[in-house]
Amino acid sequence: MSVLLRHRGALVGAAIVLLLAVVALLAPWLAPHDPNAMRLGENLRPPSWAHPFGTDSLGRDVLSQVMFGARISLVIGGVSVGLALLGGVPIGLAAGFAGGWLDRLTMRLVDILVSFPTILLAIIVITIFGPGLRNAMIAIGIAQVPLYARLTRGAVLKVKALDYVLAARASGARESRVLWRHVVPNCLPPLLVQSTLFFATAILSAAYLGFLGLGAQPPTAEWGTMLSKARDFLRVAPHVSIFPGLTIMVTVIGLNLLGDGLRDVLDPRTRIA
């Protein structure tokens, strides 16, 4: 922990993520206006004291929308990461721990799916289940399952060969005990790093789906969905496009910095020096 505190990038990242979380939690109290209140006489106003990020085409306060959007993004990140963990970790554990044909078959399948970009896999899932925020989260989570399976398997294989696991086996520990007591806990650090980075990917992917009209539907204040509408007014009211986009960028930078920092501290061998 103290190492993490001395890591400048990780600190900046953690600060950004913390700020996002606070804004998301306290949005109803922090937001200056009701994010859905339309004031048709005040549409597309540039930034001012009353509306620091300006207003959108329906006169809604962009800052309040961005703040409430933070809630949605946190939920998207949390749910998608949760789903990817739930789906990917058991597959990776089974493949890595059991080995043999099960391992070969699963990993061939995983290799094929990993070569697909997340956005395309998510679009395939959306095509089947239909557009919407809930389906977007499911789609993004499912799209990351192969990556988690591969990562978990890699970690299991590494841990499995270590002396203390061999020692546990030699001392007569049952397979299930070896798995849960010794292998699983040691697979957690790379998964934590990946989850932080994937949280960023999930927020980006949800914004992409929202922008393409396949994710959250208006009037939900999801960042990508906001930008999809704002784009029509790019010439007359650029601020409606600039602020939500900037928020996504800063959020993703924060998560990436935190993820890189965690990796440096927890898993020094894979460090991007």
Binding site: I124, L204, L212, G245
Partner: protein
Amino acid sequence: MTWRRLLARLIAGVPALLVVTVLVFAIVRLIPGDPARILAGDFATDQVVGELRERWQLDRPWPIQYVTYLRGLLRGDLGRSTATSLPVAADLGERFLRTLELAAAATVIGVLVGGLAGVLGATRRASAVDYLATVVALVGVSTPIFWSGLILILLFSVRLEWLPAGGTGGFVHLVLPAVSLGLFGAGVVARQTRSSMLEVLGEEFVRTARAKGLAERAVVYKHALRNALIPIVTVVGDQFARLLGGAILTETVFSWPGMGRYLIEAIAMRDYPVIQAIILVFAACFFVVNLLVDISYGLVDPRVRAE
């Protein structure tokens, strides 16, 4: 890479492509409803639906349907668009080339900008240049692809009026979409180049090259970079695939008439034969790119060739 190895790689890729065909085949069957009706479109007459059902044997068990589907694919039959009633294959050709053009231009930009930033960062470690390159790379990977497109339009089309905001019609139309997409790739390439260069620069043969009095430029570009290329090539190949995916967004922002925009239009119109075909073409692209990356290992590293 010898021809035998190439052939072996090609054959090894067949199961992968088969898995993708199963996936694509399953899409239409997983959507609730009658697949014949889904493939024929919302406005098709009962007669058309009947013909499709018979042609693709849609009332038979799934394995038989799948074999019929594969046979069609091998003949180059991708079905007919429900929106235009034209064969999908005919519609797709032009759009495929457009997407390829965009992704290739973006990859070139990504490799040049990212590679340069990575090399500069590694050779001047912990300097202002390194710091700047790292920040640029971080911003590159963290900026939403469609948003960088919007900002570029705002700057270069709306404010400065230098470049068109969208459409096609020559090199000028390619610049903004390619830069927007390329910046994303540049971030990833810069990070990988920097880290593999740092690793190689610490090796003994680099010290030897310096000790025998070679110019620093020769040490960096002829000795270090060549040896750092393998992980970089892997990332570039991977990025090309990601940029093909990202093209879906860039094409939407810039009204670029490629495969990605076609896919989004097809999803909006529930034009399933088109959706299926585009996903297959994307998958085939990833397969070819992976193969090219494998071949290039042999070109950049003689040790791989000798194996």
